[in-house]
Amino acid sequence: MSPTRDEQHWMYRNMVTSRRFEEAIAKIYFEGKTPVFNMANGPIPGEMHLSDGQEPVAAGVCAHLTPADVVTATHRPHHQAIAKGVDLNKMAAEIFGKATGLSGGRGGHMHIFDPDVNFACSGIIAQGMGPAVGAALSRKMQGKPGVAVAFVGEGAVNQGGWHEAMNLAAVWNLPFVCVIEDNGWGISVAKKTASAVASNAERAAAYSIPGKRVEGNDPYAIYDAAGEAIARARAGEGPSLLEFETYRLAGHFMGDAEGYRPEGEKDALFEKDPIPKMRERLKADGVASEAELDDIEAQASQRVDAAITFARQSADPAPEDALTRVFAA
């Protein structure tokens, strides 16, 4: 399955928007945190897990989804949120902890919730799995169209909840796809020291469902594999397990010195940065001209700038609002 010209433009636009967004967040994150790094300070406090380098997975998968489909994400959710169409202004405001944020500042960067596009998060590893499987169950029970996709990191597959949810999806034949973003690292722990299985596609056999691993962090190959799995789910043929090799160009979180990475690994990854690679391919294939690409990039920057400005200019929540919304109104 190959993306159409429009889809390719959408994917590139999306990846660039995501990267620009992370670049903007990264810069602002250090405001108030230098010369002495203290996570509590600055306009964006708390942990910050950036998705630089992992954009092809989000774009290649979400190219097949509509707002009605369900996505659950992780502690590293920005690229997936952007690809799913989460409101960028409100998301930025949430990351700044502003009253205009998606959750009025209650959730922050690890808890991005947007009902308009059926997007939700959890900062607890693998805990997006159950809710996505449950959404798939709900669609089936209600006879409503739509699939559910859980994005997880490769570290999540060793969590008990991951297996339980996979089996449930399989035994009930649910419209569910698990997408593993394999960036090789769970904080400082390398995949090979944590997982007994090199390719998580093999784990699909444990649930008698299709499993596929795609190397190379290539948006086209990701698009292809995701398209097949999502079409299968839509057709009522059950869940699939996908593992995509991807690259974490940032630290685990901001402030991570990354001393655990082998010498030179980071430089090699930057050379394989998927965004310039896709740009080259779009041009080489004659799918986008230099001018079109420049235009896409300029628009992406504008959108991000507008979102950041919106977030910065928004008011803080009223402190006592902390006590509201604990229960449904």
Binding site: G108, V189, A194
Partner: protein, 339 residues
């Protein structure tokens, strides 16, 4: 009091030192957890251990808390003394069966024929906008369930001695360290937590509270970060002519009710400070421990300064609104006086 040329350590370093010293003399001690190897722990409390003891005894684990915590139970029952780290206490949700149904109950279920000598160390606390899955204390949740000792150091001296005591204890000990006291690279540290720590190995008794400031008008009881808030409030109160006594619980299980009761019997007033949720928790337990024993010692209704019963919000203004702080403790005194 620390003298000028005495060695001061952070809690992070004192924990690592205690573990290293015990590992040198006790081959059954080993460490498991996420990122506790080459990284030295997200909180720096295992730094240097893998270099000295190697990856057989310092084991980075997969993100499989149920597996490695219940494996620690099995290893402890089989003659080892594991120290395991649950990176954030908030993650107990994925592995609590291993903790409260196995670790905490196997001694009892076996009529004492099995011992479970293990330490579960875990970080607590917020105040740095990490939101409601990475900022909780849940002290009361752990202390509520029988079968595990629970300690929470407020400074590096206690941190080292409690860790050594915990590793030598034949029962499971939950060791809860507050991120804001830890002294690690990525977060500010309450200055009062970094204190003189002797080089040699020593223990701090589990189950014994400490009166860390003498006073006669009111007793402020707290643990972990709350002790520092209490001490700051006591200073403010002193400038207003009020003499506050501060009790550092140090240990939640066993709970040193004697020390609390003796202090309140002296002062006649009680304020409990707890960063955990207000209801059904430590603050209620402390007050009950006093009132059910002898309500006549109280000159005023007790007060508590604790986290309101809401998930911990991300936004700084909201989180700070909820957290205990010295001003709220002083305000509690003012209300107590006015009443």
């Amino acid at each position: 009091m620390t003298k000028p040329n005495e060695r001061k350590l952070t809690i992070a370093r004192s924990m690592a030192e205690a573990i290293a010293q015990e590992m040198r003399i006790d081959p059954s001690v080993f460490v498991m957890g996420e990122d506790i190897g080459p990284l030295g722990g997200v909180y720096g409390n295992t730094r240097g251990l893998i270099e000295e003891f190697g990856d057989e005894r310092i084991r980075d684990t997969p993100i499989s808390e149920t597996a490695f915590i219940s494996a620690a139970v099995g290893a402890a029952q089989d003659g080892m003394r594991p120290v395991v780290e649950l990176m954030f206490v908030d993650f107990f949700g994925v592995c609590f069966d291993a903790i409260y149904n196995l670790m905490a109950k196997n001694t009892y279920f076996s009529g004492g024929s099995f011992k479970v000598p293990m330490v579960l160390m875990t970080s607590t606390g917020g105040g740095y906008s990490d939101a409601g899955q990475h900022s909780q204390c849940v002290y009361g949740t752990f202390a509520h369930l029988p079968g595990m000792k629970v300690v929470a150091p407020s400074n590096a001296y206690d941190a080292k001695g409690l860790m050594t005591a915990a590793m030598r204890d034949d029962s499971p000990v939950v060791y809860m360290f507050h991120k804001g006291l830890q002294g690690m690279g990525w977060l500010g540290t309450e200055a009062g937590a970094t204190v003189h720590v002797p080089e040699e190995s020593y223990t701090v008794e589990i189950g014994k509270a400490k009166v860390v400031r003498q006073g006669k008008d009111v007793t402020i009881v707290s643990l972990g970060m709350g002790v520092h808030n209490a001490l700051k409030a006591a200073k403010t109160l002193e400038s207003q002519g009020v003499s506050a006594e501060v009790v550092d619980l140090v240990s939640l299980v066993p709970l040193d009710r004697e020390t609390i009761r003796a202090s309140v019997a002296k002062t006649g007033r009680l304020i409990v400070v707890d960063e955990d949720y207000m209801s059904y928790g430590v603050s209620g337990e402390i007050i009950a421990s006093v009132t059910e024993h002898d309500i006549s010692v109280l000159k005023a209704a007790p007060k508590r300064v604790a986290f309101p019963d809401v998930p911990i919000p991300f936004a700084r203004v909201m989180e700070q609104y909820c957290l205990p702080n010295p001003d709220k403790i002083v305000a509690a005194w003012d209300q107590m006086k006015a009443a």
